[in-house]
C-alpha cells in the first residue's frame, strides 16, 4: 500500500485504492444579514485519504470537527462543495444522479441514532426489503429469503421480521441498521458514530459483529467516531480530524505508539490509563475550538498548539509523509520526511 503524496499525482503504478477522497470540501452558506456578505461554515476543508479493499479506516475528532459531514458528503447526502472522490477509479462526485444510483449499491451507511434511523411505522422486514425494492433486486420471495438471511447474519432471527422498530433495544436496532446497509451487498460501509449511542457492553457486541461481517462480506469501513478506544479497537488505519482538516493519518498502532501531531498527542494523553502507576504527562489544551465560520489562518490548530511558531500562524502545513504509513500535517516535521 502506498500513498499518493499529492492529489495531483497521476495514477501511480500502485494499485488504485477502493475509495480515494481528494481535497473534499463542504462549505455551508450562512446568511448573516441582508447587507452582510454570505459567510461559509467550512465544515470539511480539504480532506484527502484513501481506503483500501477490506480495510477499516477510522476517523476520530471532537464533535463539530466535520467527521460526520465528511461521511455524508462522500455519499452525496449533501452535495460536495469541491473535491473529488474516486471509487474504483471513477469520480463519484461528477456522476449525474442517475449514474450515481449505481454507486449507491456499493457505498452504504449506518447511522448514529438507533432510535430515529428506522421508520417507526414500518415492520422490520419491510424496512430491510425497501432497499432491494428501490433497486429492483429479486422477486418478493427471494427478497424475503434474503432479509431473513440478513437478520440471522446480524444476530437476530426470522421471528423479528414482522416486528416494529419500537419493539427492539438500541443494540438490536443498530443491528437492523447494519442489516439494511448490507442488504444491497455494498463494498464500503460508512459507519457514522454507529456505537456511540449504545452502552459499553452492547458496543463491544456490535463492534465484534461488525468485525465478523467485514470478514464475511469482504467490506471496507469508514468508521467515524469520537471514541478513541472504539476506533483503536476496530480500525486498521486512523485519521484524526480537527476543524475540518485531517491532521494526521497513521496505522492504529503507530498512531497510539507515536502520535506526531500535537493535537493527536493531546488526545491520546487524555485517554485513561489501564495502569494507574504509569506516569505519563497529560497534555492540556487551553482555549476553545475556533469557529468553523472563521477558521484561523495558517495551521488550524495554532491557536491551541503548545508548540506553535510564527510559520504556523501564516502558512497552512502540507501533509508530510513520516513513514510509508504515517502522514502528518504539521510544520514541526518540516524536512524530516
Amino acid at each position: 500500500m502506498s500513498h499518493a503524496t499529492s492529489p495531483d499525482t497521476p495514477r501511480a503504478s500502485a494499485p488504485e485504492p477502493l475509495l480515494r477522497a481528494v481535497e473534499v470540501r463542504q462549505h455551508f452558506p450562512v446568511r448573516r444579514g441582508f447587507f452582510k456578505p454570505t459567510a461559509y461554515v467550512k465544515a470539511v476543508n480539504g480532506v484527502s485519504f484513501e481506503i483500501a479493499e477490506g480495510e477499516t479506516f477510522g476517523l476520530v475528532g471532537e464533535s463539530g470537527c466535520g467527521k460526520s459531514t465528511l461521511g455524508r458528503t462522500l455519499l452525496r447526502l449533501v452535495e460536495p462543495t469541491d473535491g473529488a472522490c474516486f471509487y474504483r477509479g471513477e469520480n463519484i462526485f461528477e456522476k449525474s444522479p442517475s449514474e450515481f444510483a449505481r454507486f449507491r449499491r456499493e457505498l452504504q451507511m449506518v447511522f448514529q441514532d438507533p432510535y430515529s434511523s428506522l421508520n417507526p411505522k414500518m415492520r422490520v422486514g419491510d424496512i430491510l426489503e425497501e432497499a432491494m425494492k428501490i433497486h429492483g433486486i429479486g422477486t418478493r420471495r427471494t427478497r424475503t429469503d434474503r432479509v431473513i438471511e440478513l437478520l440471522e447474519t446480524v444476530g437476530l432471527s426470522s421471528e423479528h421480521y414482522f416486528r416494529f422498530p419500537h419493539e427492539f433495544s438500541g443494540g438490536q436496532r443498530q443491528r437492523i441498521g447494519l442489516a439494511r446497509a448490507l442488504s444491497l451487498s455494498p463494498k464500503v460501509v460508512i459507519c457514522d458514530e454507529t456505537v456511540s449511542a449504545l452502552d459499553v457492553s452492547i458496543q463491544a457486541q456490535v463492534l465484534n459483529l461488525m468485525k465478523r461481517i467485514r470478514r464475511e462480506f469482504d467490506l471496507s469501513y469508514l468508521f467515524i467516531s469520537h471514541d478513541l478506544g472504539v476506533v483503536k479497537y476496530i480500525s486498521d488505519r486512523i485519521g484524526v480530524m480537527y476543524l475540518g482538516n485531517l491532521v494526521e493519518v497513521a496505522t492504529a498502532e503507530e498512531l497510539f505508539e507515536s502520535p506526531k501531531h500535537p493535537y493527536t498527542q493531546a488526545l491520546i494523553s487524555a485517554l485513561p490509563k489501564t495502569n494507574p502507576r504509569t506516569k505519563k504527562e497529560r497534555i492540556k489544551l487551553t482555549g476553545e475550538v475556533p469557529s468553523p465560520l472563521s477558521p484561523p489562518s495558517g495551521c488550524c490548530f495554532h491557536t491551541r498548539c503548545p508548540h506553535a511558531t510564527e510559520i504556523c500562524r501564516t502558512t497552512v502545513p502540507a501533509s508530510r509523509t513520516i513513514s510509508d504509513t504515517h502522514k502528518v500535517a504539521c510544520h514541526l516535521y518540516e524536512g524530516r520526511a
Partner: protein
C-alpha cells in the same frame, strides 16, 4: 422448490399470529380510550338514525299537509310538524343525512388535496413559499363570506356547497400535514432512504405520508364537524341546500319566525346539530389521544 416453501409457510403463520396479536392489542387500547369510544358511539348512532330512522314513519320529507300545520310532538308526528305540515322528525333526519354527506365529502376531499399540498410544500422549498402564501390568503378570508359569494355566483346546489367548503378547509389540513412532514423529513430514517437511493416520490408517499396520517385523521374529523356547522349556517342564510329540500340549517330558518309558539321546530334540529358536532369533536379528541399520545399531553396542559 419444496425446500423454500416450508419456511415461507412458517413465516406466513408467524405473520398472521403477530398481526392478530397486534390487532387485539390495538383494539383493547382503543376500547380503553373512553372519549374515542363515546364519540364513535354517538356518531354511529346518529348515522344509523339518519339512514334508517325515516323508514319508521310513513311520512316523506316533502309531504305537505296544511291541516296539520305546527302540530306539537305526538304519536303521529314524533317531533311535531312545521308551518307546511311537514313531519319534522323525517325532515331532521333527512337534513342530518345531507349534513353527514357534506361533512364527509368535505373532510375527504380537503384531506386528499391538503395532503398533497402539505407533503410537497414540506419537501420542496420554493413550492412551499408559493403554496403557503396562497394558504395564508385563503385563511385570512372569512369562510362564510367566501362561501356566500361563490354560491351567489354559481348557484346554491349541494355540489357547490361542498366545493366551497373544500376550498375553505383545505388550508387547515395542508398546514397540519406540512408541519408534521417538516419534522418527519429531517428524521435520520429519511436520510437513510436517500442513502439507499430512494426516489423522492417514494420517500414522500411511502415514508413521510404514513407518519403524518395520525394527525391528518384528527384534523379531518374536526373539519368534518366544522363543515357541518358551516353548512348549517349557509342553509340558515339561504345560500346552502336549496329550500324545499331539508337541511338542519333551513329547518331552523323556517322555525325562526314561530320560535315562540312552536319550540319543536327549533329545538330538534338544533339538538341534532349539537349531537353530530359533539360526536365528531369527541371522536376527534379521542383519536388524538389514541393516535399520538405525545401531542395530547401538551394540549391537555393548556
Amino acid at each position: 422448490m419444496t425446500d423454500t416453501s416450508r419456511p415461507d409457510h412458517d413465516l406466513r403463520a408467524a405473520k398472521t399470529r403477530l398481526k392478530n396479536e397486534q390487532r387485539a392489542l390495538t383494539l383493547r387500547r382503543f376500547m380503553a380510550n373512553r372519549l374515542a369510544v363515546c364519540g364513535l358511539g354517538l356518531t354511529v348512532v346518529i348515522c344509523l338514525l339518519a339512514f334508517l330512522g325515516p323508514l319508521l314513519t310513513p311520512h316523506g320529507p316533502l309531504d305537505i299537509n296544511p291541516i296539520d300545520r305546527l302540530q306539537p310532538p305526538s304519536a303521529e308526528h314524533w317531533m311535531g310538524t312545521d308551518n307546511f305540515g311537514r313531519d319534522i322528525y323525517v325532515r331532521v333526519l333527512h337534513g342530518t343525512r345531507a349534513s353527514l354527506l357534506i361533512g364527509f365529502s368535505v373532510a375527504l376531499l380537503s384531506s386528499l388535496i391538503g395532503v398533497a399540498i402539505g407533503l410537497y410544500s414540506a419537501y420542496f422549498k420554493l413550492l412551499d413559499h408559493v403554496l403557503m402564501r396562497i394558504t395564508d390568503g385563503l385563511m385570512a378570508f372569512p369562510a362564510i363570506l367566501l362561501a356566500i359569494s361563490v354560491i351567489a355566483v354559481f348557484g346554491p346546489t349541494t355540489r357547490n356547497v361542498i366545493l366551497t367548503l373544500v376550498v375553505v378547509y383545505t388550508p387547515l389540513i395542508a398546514r397540519v400535514v406540512r408541519s408534521n412532514a417538516l419534522v418527519v423529513k429531517e428524521q435520520p430514517y429519511i436520510e437513510s432512504l436517500r442513502a439507499l437511493g430512494s426516489s423522492r416520490t417514494r420517500i414522500i408517499w411511502r415514508h413521510i405520508f404514513p407518519n403524518t396520517v395520525s394527525s391528518l385523521i384528527v384534523q379531518a374529523s374536526f373539519v368534518f364537524a366544522v363543515a357541518i356547522i358551516t353548512e348549517a349556517m349557509l342553509s340558515f342564510l339561504g345560500v346552502g341546500i336549496p329550500a324545499p329540500h331539508p337541511s338542519l340549517g333551513n329547518i331552523l330558518y323556517d322555525g325562526k319566525n314561530v320560535i315562540t309558539s312552536a319550540w319543536w321546530m327549533t329545538v330538534f334540529p338544533g339538538a341534532m346539530i349539537i349531537g353530530v358536532v359533539l360526536g365528531q369533536n369527541i371522536l376527534g379528541d379521542g383519536l388524538r389521544d389514541f393516535l399520538d399520545p405525545h401531542t395530547n399531553k401538551a394540549v391537555s396542559k393548556r
